[in-house]
């Protein structure tokens, strides 16, 4: 289903929880399928129109606002994260249909480990549940050509999550239609420190000047081009230690909607803004020495 949670005030929290549970079970009734297919047809038409202009190659998302969404609907925080996951699936589908090749999502920062242990554990459990759910749907991932990449300091994760992540990366390594980069246990400063450490240990760098290409080669995000658009939801305009190196010339878009409330119209607005500034951004990218394109 393609919808956002931007619903009127009449909904009670219990109704919201039931709606979430229903969407999670993915009801397969005829009405839902019919509605879904007609909405999908309109969406694909809209994307055909948008594709007349340049389409972003890489879109990055900071998934901010899940806890505020839960508080707004008087639910527990974990339900906010579940609602966020549903929004994520919707947006990934939209990006796939639009023709975006790389999608990066900021799921968990190293600084988030400072939160309450219960909250961290519930996020980790949810992540494990969803990764294992995706592994069960391996055939669908292969059908759509989705490759999963987990970037970050994975040694900081607990063993079960790290093993599942590595399994998911291995299982989808051959797919290349859409690359979903999941930043978990990630901060940009940690990435740059790691790259500096690797540069110093790299025998080929020893004795010569360290260059931009050397640093980029050792980043967690090596091989992934720089994002064209960085979307941060919930109206906060800050980078929060996410892709500081890679977003030096990216369009920053910060809609006021909370992450579970984000919908198709936000993505369309971001793409339209990108199309307006894209010629200038492309020339700026060409000035950067050896930047990944």
């Amino acid at each position: 289903m393609c919808c956002s949670f931007d619903i009127q005030k009449g909904f009670s929290p219990m109704l919201m929880i039931k709606l979430l549970q229903m969407m999670e079970r993915q009801s397969s009734s005829l009405v839902v399928r019919l509605l879904g297919s007609s909405a999908s047809y309109m969406r694909r038409f809209l994307f055909r129109v948008l594709s007349v202009g340049p389409v972003p190659h890489h879109v990055a998302f900071i998934l901010d606002g899940n806890r505020r969404f839960a508080r707004k609907w008087k639910m527990e925080d974990v339900m906010g994260y579940r609602a966020g996951f549903l929004s994520l699936m919707t947006l990934i589908k939209c990006c796939y249909e639009l023709g975006v090749k790389y999608i990066t999502i900021y799921v968990f920062s190293i600084e988030n480990f400072k939160r309450k242990p219960d909250e961290v554990r519930s996020v980790m459990d949810l992540m494990l549940e969803k990764i294992e759910g995706l592994l069960k749907e391996e055939s669908i991932l292969e059908q759509y050509g989705v490759r999963l990449e987990f970037v970050g300091n994975l040694k900081l994760l607990n063993e079960s999550v790290r093993i599942s992540a590595e399994k998911a990366m291995k299982a989808t390594a051959c797919n290349d239609r859409v690359i979903l980069v999941v930043a978990v246990a990630y901060t940009s400063t940690d990435e740059m420190v790691h790259a500096a450490e690797q540069c110093c240990q790299d025998k080929s760098v020893d004795g010569k000047l360290v260059e931009v290409a050397d640093v980029e080669r050792h980043m967690y995000m090596a091989g992934v081009p720089d994002p064209d658009i960085l979307v941060r939801t919930s109206g906060e305009t800050r980078l929060s230690n996410f892709l500081l190196w890679q977003t030096s010339n990216s369009l920053l878009y910060s809609p006021k909607a909370l992450w579970p409330d984000v919908g198709l119209h936000h993505l369309i607005w971001a793409v339209l803004n990108f199309q307006r500034v894209q010629p200038y951004l492309r020339t700026r990218r060409n000035y950067l020495p050896l930047s990944t394109q």
Partner: protein, 344 residues
């Protein structure tokens, strides 16, 4: 709100000879307007004061808030000299700054929420000049005046560090004429303002690769840094030939040399060591609390990559030469309303 919108419009209004189909044909315009547009076409760089006097402005019908005029009025009356020069330059005359000059904060601003370090990307000078039919050099000159206003405001509000993005390493790709005008402006601006910086207790530092600049400019910059190094009221860091990526790479290079010399192990490299080698190592507050970018563009443009990890970003449509006290106070009000969680 409407008043603010109209003030913004007034500051960015194109000259009267701008081709606007809604304007009446030339013969039907009032005589004053026709004379003004003819003068604009004939003159090369009309002075802003003459422009204000001759081109009819909608602002004459508006009641501007007293704050917007306060700096101009102060400039006009300091030391008893009427303010034509001050209005032309758009600044106050060099004054003796003392503790009593720190005025009370405007209503709505809390002292404890004033950012310690403000970074500014001064964008929009060329657009400002093009909209008025001026050459690009006038836009940069107006930008320097706006920077002077910003330095005074930061001194008054108690901001400790102000970092400005004067020239990016990507800007070398601009036309050579424009780059030469900019370099000449740096030179002239620094010579003229050094005395003011000394009297205002402002310390100036330069960040970026200054080796590509002219020798005379390098010497001037070194002299300015040495002359003002003991000043403590405000630390002005000017990023010249700066690129955030190059800054991080040169820090990695220095660490690689230290590893090669056996001073540290690669495993010892941490965020503290990298930050020590960055261009902002000259200040105790290297991380900006607030980054302001003018002219409506929504990007960071390779400025202070490492340091912007938790910086609040503020984007305004106002062009840099028009960025004054009102706009800055709006930015500070917006900053005060933000909830900074640092990942928690």
């Amino acid at each position: 709100m409407d008043q603010l919108k109209l003030i913004k419009l007034q500051k960015s209004v194109p000259p009267s000879n701008f081709r606007n189909p809604k304007l009446p044909p030339f013969q039907n315009q009032p005589r004053r307007q026709r004379m003004a547009s003819l003068q604009l076409r004939l003159s090369f760089t009309p002075s802003p004061l003459k422009l204000r006097q001759q081109v009819p402005r909608r602002s004459l019908d508006l009641k501007l808030p007293p704050r917007a005029l306060s700096s101009a009025i102060k400039a006009a009356t300091v030391n008893g000299h009427p303010g034509e020069d001050a209005l032309l330059k758009g600044t106050t005359a060099p004054a003796q700054f003392s503790g009593e000059d720190s005025v009370a904060l405007p209503a709505g601003l809390r002292r404890e929420s004033i950012p310690r370090h403000v970074a500014v990307i001064m964008d929009g000078n060329r657009r400002w000049a093009r909209m008025r039919g001026f050459p690009v050099g006038s836009g940069y000159e107006a930008g320097v005046r706006a920077l002077r206003r910003m330095v005074e405001l930061c001194c008054k509000l108690g901001i400790k560090v102000l970092t400005v993005f004067a020239f990016s390493s990507d800007n070398w790709f601009r036309p050579k004429v424009e780059v030469d005008v900019l370099m000449a402006l740096f030179d002239r601006g620094l010579r003229e303002e050094l005395q003011y910086l000394v009297s205002a207790d402002v310390r100036i530092s330069i960040m970026g690769d200054s080796s590509k600049l002219f020798n005379s400019l390098q010497a001037l910059l070194a002299n300015a840094m040495e002359t003002t190094q003991n000043n403590s009221r405000l630390h002005l860091i000017v990023a010249v030939n700066y690129s955030g990526r190059s800054d991080v790479v040169q820090a990695c290079q220095k660490l690689a040399v230290e590893v090669k010399d056996g001073l540290i192990e690669p495993e010892d490299i941490n965020e503290f060591l990298v930050e020590r080698e960055l261009g902002t190592n000259c200040t105790d507050f290297p991380h900006p609390d607030l980054l302001i970018r003018t002219s409506g563009e929504l990007r960071v443009s390779n400025f202070l990559l490492w340091q912007l990890a938790h910086t609040e970003l503020y984007f305004t449509d106002s062009l840099w030469p028009d960025f004054g006290e009102d706009e800055f106070l709006q930015a500070l009000s917006s900053f005060q309303e933000r909830q900074r969680r640092y990942g928690c």
